[in-house]
Symmetry: C2
Subunit: 163 residues, 2 copies
DNA sequence: ACAGGCATATGATTTCAATCATATGCAAGC
DNA sequence: GCTTGCATATGATTGAAATCATATGCCTGT
Protein backbone atom coordinates (compact mmCIF):
# COMPACT_ATOMS: atom_id res chain seq x y z
CA UNK A 1 0.00 0.00 0.00
CA UNK A 2 1.24 3.46 -0.88
CA UNK A 3 0.66 7.05 0.11
CA UNK A 4 1.27 9.80 -2.44
CA UNK A 5 2.84 12.78 -0.69
CA UNK A 6 2.86 14.99 -3.73
CA UNK A 7 2.62 14.71 -7.48
CA UNK A 8 0.27 12.65 -9.59
CA UNK A 9 0.43 8.95 -10.32
CA UNK A 10 -1.59 7.00 -12.84
CA UNK A 11 -2.29 3.34 -12.08
CA UNK A 12 -2.44 1.38 -15.33
CA UNK A 13 -2.91 -2.10 -16.72
CA UNK A 14 -2.43 -3.49 -20.19
CA UNK A 15 -4.92 -5.73 -21.96
CA UNK A 16 -3.73 -8.86 -23.75
CA UNK A 17 -3.99 -6.91 -26.96
CA UNK A 18 -1.48 -4.45 -25.56
CA UNK A 19 -3.89 -1.65 -24.91
CA UNK A 20 -3.14 0.60 -21.98
CA UNK A 21 -5.97 0.88 -19.48
CA UNK A 22 -5.98 3.73 -17.03
CA UNK A 23 -7.32 2.50 -13.72
CA UNK A 24 -7.01 5.25 -11.23
CA UNK A 25 -5.28 8.59 -11.04
CA UNK A 26 -3.91 9.31 -7.60
CA UNK A 27 -3.16 12.86 -6.57
CA UNK A 28 -1.43 14.29 -3.48
CA UNK A 29 -2.74 12.76 -0.29
CA UNK A 30 -4.24 9.70 -1.94
CA UNK A 31 -3.54 6.13 -0.91
CA UNK A 32 -3.10 3.40 -3.48
CA UNK A 33 -3.17 -0.38 -3.69
CA UNK A 34 -5.27 -0.94 -0.60
CA UNK A 35 -6.35 -4.39 -1.75
CA UNK A 36 -2.75 -5.40 -1.19
CA UNK A 37 -3.46 -5.24 2.56
CA UNK A 38 -5.47 -8.41 2.25
CA UNK A 39 -3.59 -10.24 -0.49
CA UNK A 40 -0.38 -12.18 -0.74
CA UNK A 41 0.30 -10.61 -4.10
CA UNK A 42 -1.14 -7.66 -5.88
CA UNK A 43 0.04 -6.41 -9.21
CA UNK A 44 -0.33 -2.91 -10.57
CA UNK A 45 1.78 -0.55 -12.63
CA UNK A 46 2.14 3.07 -11.64
CA UNK A 47 3.28 5.87 -13.90
CA UNK A 48 4.16 9.23 -12.41
CA UNK A 49 2.72 12.09 -14.42
CA UNK A 50 4.73 14.63 -12.49
CA UNK A 51 7.58 14.62 -10.07
CA UNK A 52 6.09 12.66 -7.21
CA UNK A 53 6.89 11.37 -3.78
CA UNK A 54 5.43 8.07 -2.73
CA UNK A 55 5.60 6.53 0.73
CA UNK A 56 5.49 2.77 0.90
CA UNK A 57 3.46 1.76 3.95
CA UNK A 58 4.26 -1.46 5.75
CA UNK A 59 1.33 -3.81 5.41
CA UNK A 60 1.56 -5.31 8.89
CA UNK A 61 1.88 -1.86 10.45
CA UNK A 62 -1.19 -0.55 8.60
CA UNK A 63 -3.21 -3.57 9.73
CA UNK A 64 -2.06 -3.05 13.33
CA UNK A 65 -2.90 0.65 13.38
CA UNK A 66 -6.24 -0.13 11.78
CA UNK A 67 -7.00 -2.61 14.54
CA UNK A 68 -6.09 -0.15 17.30
CA UNK A 69 -7.17 3.22 16.02
CA UNK A 70 -10.81 3.41 14.94
CA UNK A 71 -10.46 6.86 13.48
CA UNK A 72 -7.66 5.62 11.21
CA UNK A 73 -9.83 2.73 10.13
CA UNK A 74 -12.76 5.03 9.50
CA UNK A 75 -10.67 7.37 7.41
CA UNK A 76 -9.47 4.38 5.40
CA UNK A 77 -13.08 3.31 4.86
CA UNK A 78 -13.82 6.79 3.63
CA UNK A 79 -10.87 6.79 1.26
CA UNK A 80 -11.92 3.48 -0.21
CA UNK A 81 -15.53 4.58 -0.50
CA UNK A 82 -14.33 7.56 -2.48
CA UNK A 83 -12.23 5.31 -4.66
CA UNK A 84 -15.30 3.17 -5.31
CA UNK A 85 -17.06 6.29 -6.52
CA UNK A 86 -14.12 7.16 -8.75
CA UNK A 87 -14.16 3.72 -10.31
CA UNK A 88 -17.88 3.96 -10.83
CA UNK A 89 -17.44 7.23 -12.65
CA UNK A 90 -14.81 5.66 -14.89
CA UNK A 91 -17.19 2.84 -15.70
CA UNK A 92 -19.87 5.33 -16.60
CA UNK A 93 -17.50 7.16 -18.91
CA UNK A 94 -16.38 4.00 -20.64
CA UNK A 95 -20.00 3.04 -21.16
CA UNK A 96 -20.67 6.17 -23.20
CA UNK A 97 -20.55 4.92 -26.75
CA UNK A 98 -20.20 8.10 -28.72
CA UNK A 99 -16.68 9.50 -28.72
CA UNK A 100 -18.02 13.03 -28.79
CA UNK A 101 -20.20 12.50 -25.73
CA UNK A 102 -17.42 10.70 -23.93
CA UNK A 103 -14.97 13.48 -24.63
CA UNK A 104 -17.25 16.23 -23.44
CA UNK A 105 -18.13 14.23 -20.32
CA UNK A 106 -14.42 13.73 -19.63
CA UNK A 107 -13.75 17.44 -20.16
CA UNK A 108 -16.60 18.35 -17.85
CA UNK A 109 -15.07 16.03 -15.23
CA UNK A 110 -11.83 17.98 -15.54
CA UNK A 111 -9.91 14.96 -16.77
CA UNK A 112 -7.86 16.81 -19.40
CA UNK A 113 -5.02 17.69 -17.03
CA UNK A 114 -2.04 17.05 -19.28
CA UNK A 115 -1.55 15.73 -22.77
CA UNK A 116 -4.45 14.91 -25.04
CA UNK A 117 -2.74 11.54 -25.57
CA UNK A 118 -3.18 10.70 -21.88
CA UNK A 119 -6.69 12.12 -21.91
CA UNK A 120 -7.47 9.76 -24.80
CA UNK A 121 -6.09 6.77 -22.90
CA UNK A 122 -8.08 7.87 -19.86
CA UNK A 123 -11.23 7.83 -22.00
CA UNK A 124 -10.36 4.56 -23.69
CA UNK A 125 -10.33 6.18 -27.12
CA UNK A 126 -7.72 6.50 -29.83
CA UNK A 127 -6.08 9.91 -29.89
CA UNK A 128 -7.37 10.47 -33.41
CA UNK A 129 -10.94 9.98 -32.29
CA UNK A 130 -10.40 12.37 -29.42
CA UNK A 131 -8.90 15.11 -31.61
CA UNK A 132 -11.71 14.71 -34.09
CA UNK A 133 -14.28 14.99 -31.33
CA UNK A 134 -12.49 18.00 -29.86
CA UNK A 135 -12.41 19.69 -33.28
CA UNK A 136 -16.09 19.10 -33.79
CA UNK A 137 -16.95 20.36 -30.32
CA UNK A 138 -14.92 23.51 -30.98
CA UNK A 139 -16.67 24.07 -34.34
CA UNK A 140 -20.02 23.55 -32.63
CA UNK A 141 -19.07 26.12 -30.02
CA UNK A 142 -19.52 23.67 -27.16
CA UNK A 143 -15.88 23.99 -26.05
CA UNK A 144 -13.10 26.48 -26.62
CA UNK A 145 -9.49 25.97 -27.64
CA UNK A 146 -7.45 28.84 -26.13
CA UNK A 147 -4.21 27.36 -27.44
CA UNK A 148 -2.73 24.30 -29.07
CA UNK A 149 -3.50 21.29 -26.88
CA UNK A 150 -5.68 23.30 -24.52
CA UNK A 151 -9.42 22.71 -24.49
CA UNK A 152 -12.02 23.99 -22.05
CA UNK A 153 -15.75 23.92 -21.59
CA UNK A 154 -17.15 27.03 -23.21
CA UNK A 155 -19.44 27.93 -20.34
CA UNK A 156 -20.05 26.63 -16.84
CA UNK A 157 -21.99 23.50 -17.61
CA UNK A 158 -23.42 21.30 -14.99
CA UNK A 159 -23.28 17.77 -16.32
CA UNK A 160 -25.45 15.54 -14.17
CA UNK A 161 -23.09 13.70 -11.92
CA UNK A 162 -23.59 10.15 -10.86
CA UNK A 163 -23.76 10.70 -7.14
CA UNK B 1 -25.90 1.30 2.94
CA UNK B 2 -27.28 -2.19 2.42
CA UNK B 3 -26.48 -5.76 3.29
CA UNK B 4 -27.62 -8.54 1.01
CA UNK B 5 -28.75 -11.49 3.11
CA UNK B 6 -29.40 -13.75 0.18
CA UNK B 7 -30.01 -13.57 -3.51
CA UNK B 8 -28.19 -11.52 -6.13
CA UNK B 9 -28.54 -7.85 -6.87
CA UNK B 10 -27.15 -5.91 -9.79
CA UNK B 11 -26.33 -2.24 -9.26
CA UNK B 12 -26.91 -0.35 -12.48
CA UNK B 13 -26.81 3.13 -13.98
CA UNK B 14 -28.06 4.47 -17.26
CA UNK B 15 -26.04 6.71 -19.56
CA UNK B 16 -27.62 9.84 -21.03
CA UNK B 17 -28.09 7.85 -24.22
CA UNK B 18 -30.19 5.40 -22.26
CA UNK B 19 -27.70 2.61 -22.15
CA UNK B 20 -27.77 0.38 -19.11
CA UNK B 21 -24.44 0.13 -17.32
CA UNK B 22 -23.83 -2.68 -14.90
CA UNK B 23 -21.78 -1.41 -12.00
CA UNK B 24 -21.49 -4.13 -9.47
CA UNK B 25 -23.15 -7.47 -8.85
CA UNK B 26 -23.68 -8.15 -5.19
CA UNK B 27 -24.19 -11.67 -3.96
CA UNK B 28 -25.18 -13.05 -0.55
CA UNK B 29 -23.22 -11.47 2.27
CA UNK B 30 -22.12 -8.41 0.26
CA UNK B 31 -22.61 -4.83 1.36
CA UNK B 32 -23.62 -2.13 -1.09
CA UNK B 33 -23.62 1.63 -1.39
CA UNK B 34 -20.88 2.26 1.15
CA UNK B 35 -20.11 5.71 -0.27
CA UNK B 36 -23.51 6.70 1.08
CA UNK B 37 -21.97 6.61 4.56
CA UNK B 38 -20.11 9.78 3.76
CA UNK B 39 -22.57 11.55 1.48
CA UNK B 40 -25.75 13.47 1.93
CA UNK B 41 -27.15 11.83 -1.16
CA UNK B 42 -26.14 8.81 -3.16
CA UNK B 43 -28.07 7.52 -6.08
CA UNK B 44 -27.96 4.03 -7.45
CA UNK B 45 -30.46 1.60 -8.94
CA UNK B 46 -30.54 -2.00 -7.85
CA UNK B 47 -32.14 -4.83 -9.76
CA UNK B 48 -32.64 -8.15 -8.08
CA UNK B 49 -31.65 -11.04 -10.31
CA UNK B 50 -33.16 -13.58 -7.94
CA UNK B 51 -35.42 -13.53 -4.96
CA UNK B 52 -33.35 -11.51 -2.52
CA UNK B 53 -33.39 -10.16 0.96
CA UNK B 54 -31.74 -6.83 1.62
CA UNK B 55 -31.15 -5.23 5.00
CA UNK B 56 -31.04 -1.46 5.09
CA UNK B 57 -28.38 -0.39 7.57
CA UNK B 58 -28.79 2.87 9.43
CA UNK B 59 -26.01 5.22 8.41
CA UNK B 60 -25.50 6.75 11.84
CA UNK B 61 -25.45 3.33 13.47
CA UNK B 62 -22.87 2.02 11.03
CA UNK B 63 -20.65 5.03 11.63
CA UNK B 64 -20.99 4.57 15.40
CA UNK B 65 -20.14 0.87 15.30
CA UNK B 66 -17.23 1.63 13.01
CA UNK B 67 -15.90 4.14 15.51
CA UNK B 68 -16.16 1.71 18.43
CA UNK B 69 -15.39 -1.67 16.99
CA UNK B 70 -12.08 -1.87 15.15
CA UNK B 71 -12.74 -5.35 13.82
CA UNK B 72 -15.95 -4.13 12.20
CA UNK B 73 -14.09 -1.25 10.64
CA UNK B 74 -11.35 -3.57 9.42
CA UNK B 75 -13.86 -5.92 7.86
CA UNK B 76 -15.47 -2.96 6.13
CA UNK B 77 -12.07 -1.89 4.78
CA UNK B 78 -11.60 -5.40 3.48
CA UNK B 79 -15.00 -5.43 1.80
CA UNK B 80 -14.29 -2.14 0.09
CA UNK B 81 -10.83 -3.24 -0.96
CA UNK B 82 -12.44 -6.26 -2.60
CA UNK B 83 -14.95 -4.02 -4.30
CA UNK B 84 -12.11 -1.90 -5.63
CA UNK B 85 -10.66 -5.04 -7.18
CA UNK B 86 -14.01 -5.95 -8.66
CA UNK B 87 -14.34 -2.54 -10.23
CA UNK B 88 -10.82 -2.76 -11.57
CA UNK B 89 -11.64 -6.06 -13.22
CA UNK B 90 -14.72 -4.53 -14.80
CA UNK B 91 -12.60 -1.70 -16.20
CA UNK B 92 -10.19 -4.20 -17.66
CA UNK B 93 -13.02 -6.07 -19.33
CA UNK B 94 -14.58 -2.92 -20.77
CA UNK B 95 -11.19 -1.93 -22.15
CA UNK B 96 -11.01 -5.08 -24.27
CA UNK B 97 -11.97 -3.85 -27.69
CA UNK B 98 -12.77 -7.05 -29.52
CA UNK B 99 -16.15 -8.52 -28.65
CA UNK B 100 -14.82 -12.04 -29.01
CA UNK B 101 -11.96 -11.44 -26.59
CA UNK B 102 -14.27 -9.65 -24.17
CA UNK B 103 -16.75 -12.49 -24.23
CA UNK B 104 -14.19 -15.18 -23.60
CA UNK B 105 -12.62 -13.15 -20.80
CA UNK B 106 -16.06 -12.69 -19.24
CA UNK B 107 -16.77 -16.41 -19.57
CA UNK B 108 -13.42 -17.23 -18.00
CA UNK B 109 -14.32 -14.92 -15.10
CA UNK B 110 -17.49 -16.94 -14.60
CA UNK B 111 -19.73 -13.95 -15.36
CA UNK B 112 -22.32 -15.86 -17.39
CA UNK B 113 -24.50 -16.76 -14.42
CA UNK B 114 -27.96 -16.17 -15.85
CA UNK B 115 -29.30 -14.89 -19.13
CA UNK B 116 -27.04 -14.06 -22.04
CA UNK B 117 -28.89 -10.74 -22.17
CA UNK B 118 -27.59 -9.85 -18.72
CA UNK B 119 -24.16 -11.22 -19.58
CA UNK B 120 -24.14 -8.89 -22.59
CA UNK B 121 -25.07 -5.89 -20.45
CA UNK B 122 -22.39 -6.92 -17.98
CA UNK B 123 -19.85 -6.88 -20.79
CA UNK B 124 -21.15 -3.61 -22.26
CA UNK B 125 -21.98 -5.28 -25.58
CA UNK B 126 -25.17 -5.66 -27.56
CA UNK B 127 -26.73 -9.10 -27.17
CA UNK B 128 -26.33 -9.70 -30.91
CA UNK B 129 -22.60 -9.13 -30.71
CA UNK B 130 -22.38 -11.51 -27.77
CA UNK B 131 -24.31 -14.28 -29.48
CA UNK B 132 -22.19 -13.89 -32.59
CA UNK B 133 -19.03 -14.10 -30.54
CA UNK B 134 -20.35 -17.10 -28.65
CA UNK B 135 -21.25 -18.84 -31.93
CA UNK B 136 -17.81 -18.22 -33.32
CA UNK B 137 -16.10 -19.40 -30.17
CA UNK B 138 -18.19 -22.60 -30.27
CA UNK B 139 -17.31 -23.17 -33.95
CA UNK B 140 -13.65 -22.59 -33.13
CA UNK B 141 -13.88 -25.13 -30.33
CA UNK B 142 -12.78 -22.62 -27.69
CA UNK B 143 -16.02 -22.98 -25.72
CA UNK B 144 -18.82 -25.52 -25.58
CA UNK B 145 -22.60 -25.10 -25.70
CA UNK B 146 -24.15 -27.97 -23.73
CA UNK B 147 -27.65 -26.53 -24.19
CA UNK B 148 -29.52 -23.51 -25.45
CA UNK B 149 -28.29 -20.46 -23.54
CA UNK B 150 -25.55 -22.43 -21.77
CA UNK B 151 -21.95 -21.81 -22.65
CA UNK B 152 -18.81 -23.02 -20.91
CA UNK B 153 -15.09 -22.90 -21.39
CA UNK B 154 -13.79 -25.97 -23.17
CA UNK B 155 -11.91 -28.45 -21.03
CA UNK B 156 -8.23 -27.64 -21.20
CA UNK B 157 -6.43 -30.33 -23.08
CA UNK B 158 -4.05 -31.69 -20.52
CA UNK B 159 -2.53 -34.37 -22.72
CA UNK B 160 -1.30 -33.53 -26.21
CA UNK B 161 -3.02 -35.56 -28.88
CA UNK B 162 -0.77 -38.20 -30.28
CA UNK B 163 -2.55 -38.63 -33.62
C1' DA C 1 21.40 25.58 -36.06
C1' DC C 2 20.11 20.95 -36.74
C1' DA C 3 18.21 16.35 -35.71
C1' DG C 4 15.26 13.41 -33.36
C1' DG C 5 11.32 12.21 -30.74
C1' DC C 6 6.90 12.87 -29.42
C1' DA C 7 2.58 15.53 -29.13
C1' DT C 8 -0.77 17.81 -31.81
C1' DA C 9 -3.78 17.45 -35.49
C1' DT C 10 -6.19 15.96 -39.71
C1' DG C 11 -7.69 13.01 -43.70
C1' DA C 12 -8.59 8.39 -45.93
C1' DT C 13 -9.72 3.75 -45.43
C1' DT C 14 -10.93 -0.35 -42.93
C1' DT C 15 -13.02 -2.84 -39.44
C1' DC C 16 -16.34 -4.45 -36.58
C1' DA C 17 -19.91 -3.69 -33.22
C1' DA C 18 -24.38 -1.46 -33.18
C1' DT C 19 -28.56 -1.32 -35.16
C1' DC C 20 -32.23 -3.09 -37.74
C1' DA C 21 -34.81 -7.03 -38.95
C1' DT C 22 -36.44 -11.41 -38.27
C1' DA C 23 -37.32 -16.28 -36.69
C1' DT C 24 -37.68 -19.73 -33.08
C1' DG C 25 -38.19 -21.42 -28.36
C1' DC C 26 -39.78 -21.26 -23.73
C1' DA C 27 -42.59 -20.02 -19.83
C1' DA C 28 -46.47 -17.93 -17.75
C1' DG C 29 -51.14 -16.65 -17.70
C1' DC C 30 -55.75 -17.28 -19.18
C1' DG D 1 -54.66 -25.11 -26.10
C1' DC D 2 -53.69 -20.37 -27.24
C1' DT D 3 -51.58 -15.88 -26.59
C1' DT D 4 -48.13 -12.93 -25.10
C1' DG D 5 -43.68 -11.48 -23.78
C1' DC D 6 -39.08 -12.11 -23.55
C1' DA D 7 -34.85 -14.81 -24.28
C1' DT D 8 -32.21 -17.10 -27.69
C1' DA D 9 -30.18 -16.71 -31.97
C1' DT D 10 -28.88 -15.27 -36.66
C1' DG D 11 -28.36 -12.36 -40.96
C1' DA D 12 -28.05 -7.78 -43.39
C1' DT D 13 -26.88 -3.10 -43.21
C1' DT D 14 -25.12 1.04 -41.21
C1' DG D 15 -22.28 4.02 -38.67
C1' DA D 16 -18.49 5.46 -36.28
C1' DA D 17 -14.22 4.52 -34.04
C1' DA D 18 -9.88 2.25 -35.05
C1' DT D 19 -6.25 2.04 -37.96
C1' DC D 20 -3.26 3.73 -41.35
C1' DA D 21 -1.01 7.63 -43.22
C1' DT D 22 0.73 12.01 -43.03
C1' DA D 23 2.02 16.89 -41.79
C1' DT D 24 3.25 20.36 -38.44
C1' DG D 25 4.89 22.13 -34.05
C1' DC D 26 7.49 21.97 -29.90
C1' DC D 27 11.12 20.63 -26.95
C1' DT D 28 15.50 18.60 -25.88
C1' DG D 29 20.09 17.38 -26.79
C1' DT D 30 24.24 17.88 -29.49
Amino acid sequence: MFFLEYGAVNLIRHTDAGQKVSMFRAVSGDTMAEPALFSETYHCDAVAEDSSSVLCLDKGLVLDVMAQDPSFATSLVQRLAMQVQTYRRRLELLAIRSAEDRVIAGLADGRLTGSVMNFAADLGLSHEAVYRALSKLVRDGRIVRPARGIYEMSEPVSVPRSE
